[in-house]
């Protein structure tokens, strides 16, 4: 079963959300439209809709996360679902309980949805493959493979800033593409939304093999890569990357790939600057840029809740648009 078959129901609707790869233009836009309808919920005094009342959602995090887990939790609560957070440190699973045991045990407690994060690529697929028919799985990040809700909130942000026509946009992703699940999901989503040009900018040590097969143009110079772009997405550089032989020093990385006002001047004047957070100020970008008028970094966090509400409700077949049509 391909991953596309796995995440889509027979009627074409979303069953699991594992990866942006293989989804359709229509479905991605449906996610964005649904998120748009939820964006207003947060501004109401009662920040809740009853779509998932009585449903139980488990946030199953095998990898530390504050931001992503919190936004998933808020999204679930605003949909009126019951939420259980389980942080499993690796040692508990090493003791002998397999991941499959964990899944089966939680299913026995009548859980309706799993939000899963794990350091192994393919974990969300594994859960989806073995889950019972009524259970949905949302990928909250698996290894270096995918982080589809992050990518969709970035698409939502771009659509809000630049409009729905991605065809006229040049988007550059800067930083550690090789180890980034966010970058992979962004690249697939941008291409599915017919983005005019997707660029990646990084030294060769941070670019994975045959990356052009994902549908991107590669640059090694930040200045050249930023020329005339409409959106620049900076990736977080994990500290451990500095310890191997991938990069010589933070200093040299900042010199070459750190985003400054001066380098940003190569881009279009109305360029939008994004970052999935948390930012290493003075490494990936200058504070002046991070806090500047073209930065939408905090808005990304806000939109994250609406996008996750959209994906959760769609996977549970509780799309408000559909209900009003009925």
């Amino acid at each position: 079963m391909s991953s596309t078959d796995l995440q889509i129901r027979d009627d074409g609707r979303l069953r699991h959300f594992l990866s942006t790869e293989g989804l359709s233009y229509g479905l991605l836009n449906e996610i964005l439209d649904t998120a748009e309808s939820f964006a207003g919920v947060a501004e109401q005094s009662v920040k809740k809709v009853p779509l998932l009342r009585g449903k139980t959602i488990v946030n199953l995090f095998f990898e530390a996360s504050t931001r992503t887990r919190t936004t998933f939790e808020l999204a679930a609560k605003r949909l009126s679902a019951d939420v259980l957070n389980i942080n499993v440190n690796a040692s508990a699973t090493i003791k002998g309980e397999t991941l499959l045991d964990t899944l089966r045990n939680l299913e026995a407690m009548h859980v309706d949805m799993f939000v899963v994060r794990h350091s192994d690529s393919g974990t969300a697929h594994f859960f989806a493959r073995h889950a019972q028919p009524h259970v949905s799985v949302i990928n909250a990040g698996d290894g270096r493979h995918a982080h589809p809700t992050q990518a969709m909130l970035d698409m939502f942000t771009i659509r809000r800033e630049k409009g729905a026509d991605f065809g006229r946009l040049r988007v550059a992703i800067v930083g550690d593409i090789a180890h980034s699940r966010v970058a992979r999901s962004q690249i697939h989503a941008l291409n599915l939304l017919n983005t005019g040009e997707v660029r990646i900018i990084a030294p060769r040590t941070l670019i994975p093999a045959h990356v052009e097969s994902l549908g991107v143009r590669t640059f090694h110079s930040l200045r050249e890569g930023l020329r005339d772009v409409d959106v620049v997405i900076m990736l977080r550089l994990q500290n451990e990357r500095m310890q191997g032989a991938l990069l010589p020093s933070e200093h040299e990385y900042y010199q070459l790939y750190g985003l400054t006002e001066e380098k940003l001047s190569m881009a279009r004047p109305d360029v939008t600057v994004m970052h999935p957070g948390p930012i290493n100020r003075g490494v990936e970008m200058d504070s002046q840029v991070a806090d500047g008028s073209r930065s939408v970094i905090l808005r990304q966090v806000t939109y994250g809740i609406a996008v996750r509400m959209a994906v959760m409700s769609m996977a549970m077949q509780q799309n408000p648009a559909q209900e009003s049509n009925a």
């Binding site: 192994d120 690529s121 393919g122 493979h145 093999a209 994902l214």
Partner: protein
């Protein structure tokens, strides 16, 4: 029990080593080939096997099969796998030293031999550890291991600590005329990798094993082989470039041989695309060009053997996210039909294909088997070349049911297997 006098009558006898392919009867007595064609004077048979419409070929020799005993009997046992091998026409299995305990003392190899003899299925030979406990630093007692019957030495999948230790290990093995069996891998380049580094690993975000992990190791190993003069064998090559490097070294006269595992002849990195744990192999499945290069190396003889790289697992070993699964496939059951498939798909001539699973590996192991010459051990596989069957959990005899070839239609089915003149498998 003395072995019976057997006449195998009416079959097509194919013995690539002795350049025989004809309708000839085979006569067996005292566990050996007594005659080919005409009966020896005064021969009377205890058993007549009617091979009309069947092929009679040497028993297969498999250069790399993990039996999981001692140490991992929950995956498979010597008993289960020696019987499975017999049912697959395999009469000699060579097991690598990474058992638990490791084959680094005579006691372990003697125990394995003893168990295999009790089973009465395929013959088992073993490789001794090149270093103690495969630690990569301290040479094992290779002379003692050779005396105990080890047919070669190997560090299995474990790296050696340095090129200096590798040089010393090669020199010491060469002192006792032992063949060193190598896994061509630069451990630093392949570290944490779980599939071929290429566009599929990039798409799936799986840590990759670059081609250079193999080619760098082959270059290094060849340099030390040429310097020390040790006889060496590269097991399970996966890349076209490595095959060409070995071909060049052979042309230059280096005492080096190589083999390929069945999965790499049919599958590629593309098969991993849905995180399928049955496609998780170390060394990994490579590109289509590599697969074609391996077939070419097999045709031309650079690769003198096809092995099953048999790695039976319990179901849980494959029930996890891909990177957390154990690599390898159960391969005994499919070795013969997938070797014959190379012929039906026109990648190889029949005689060459059969040689790659009989005389080729026997010669690498320096064993007097893999052929049907008079006086040789009567290791024989009698098969129906046209019978088709489906590979599935019921048709597999190995205890390990983990295979990427599940539900493939197989052509060629074993009817009888004889080892040392005894019928160790009969389909009837």
């Amino acid at each position: 029990m003395p072995s019976p006098r057997i006449r195998i009558a009416g079959g097509r006898l194919i013995d690539p080593h002795n350049r025989i392919d004809d309708e000839l009867d085979l006569y067996i007595a005292d566990g050996r080939i007594a005659a080919v064609g005409a009966a020896p004077d005064g021969f009377t048979s205890d058993i007549e096997l009617d091979a009309t419409g069947l092929w009679v070929v040497p028993g297969l020799v498999d250069l790399c099969a993990r039996l999981r005993e001692p140490g991992e009997e929950f995956k498979a046992t010597i008993d289960s796998e020696c019987r499975a091998a017999a049912a697959a026409g395999i009469t000699t299995l060579c097991c690598p030293p990474d058992t638990n305990p490791v084959i680094d003392t005579p006691a372990v190899i003697e125990m394995i031999h003893h168990r295999a003899q009790q089973v009465g299925g395929a013959r088992v030979v073993g490789l001794g550890a090149l270093t103690q406990n495969l630690d990569g630093e301290h040479l094992s007692e290779m002379f003692a291991l050779k005396q105990a019957g080890c047919v070669g030495v190997s560090n299995a999948l474990n790296p050696l600590a340095s090129t200096l230790i590798q040089r010393r290990a090669f020199e010491y093995a060469a002192t006792f005329d032992l063949t060193v069996f190598l896994h061509a891998d630069d451990a630093a380049l392949s570290a944490n990798g779980c599939m071929h580094e290429g566009h599929v690993s990039t798409r799936l975000g799986l840590p990759g094993i670059p081609e250079s992990a193999e080619t760098v190791a082959v270059a290094r190993d060849l340099a030390l082989i040429q310097q020390t003069g040790v006889r060496a064998h590269f097991g399970r090559l996966t890349t076209q470039r490595a095959v060409r490097m070995v071909a060049r070294a052979q042309f230059d006269g280096a005492p080096v041989t190589a083999d390929v595992a069945v999965p790499n002849l049919y599958l590629t990195e593309l098969d991993v695309i849905d995180f399928g744990a049955d496609y998780h192999f170390i060394p990994p499945l490579r590109t289509q060009e590599d697969r074609d290069g391996l077939r070419e190396g097999l045709r031309g003889g650079t690769l003198a053997a096809i092995c099953s790289d048999h790695q039976p697992h319990e179901p849980d070993a494959k029930r996890a996210p891909y990177p957390a699964t154990e690599p390898g496939a159960s391969g005994l059951d499919s070795l013969l039909p997938l070797t014959l498939k190379l012929v039906t798909e026109n990648h190889m001539l029949l005689h060459d294909a059969i040689a790659r699973v009989t005389s080729g590996p026997a010669s690498i192991l320096n064993l007097p088997c893999g052929e049907l010459g008079r006086g040789r051990a009567a290791d024989v596989c009698i098969l129906d070349p046209d019978a088709t069957w489906r590979l599935d959990k019921n048709s597999m005899n190995s205890l390990g049911k983990n295979t990427p070839f599940l539900d493939w239609e197989m052509r060629g089915q074993v009817r009888y297997t004889l080892r040392d003149g005894n019928i160790i498998y009969s389909r009837d």
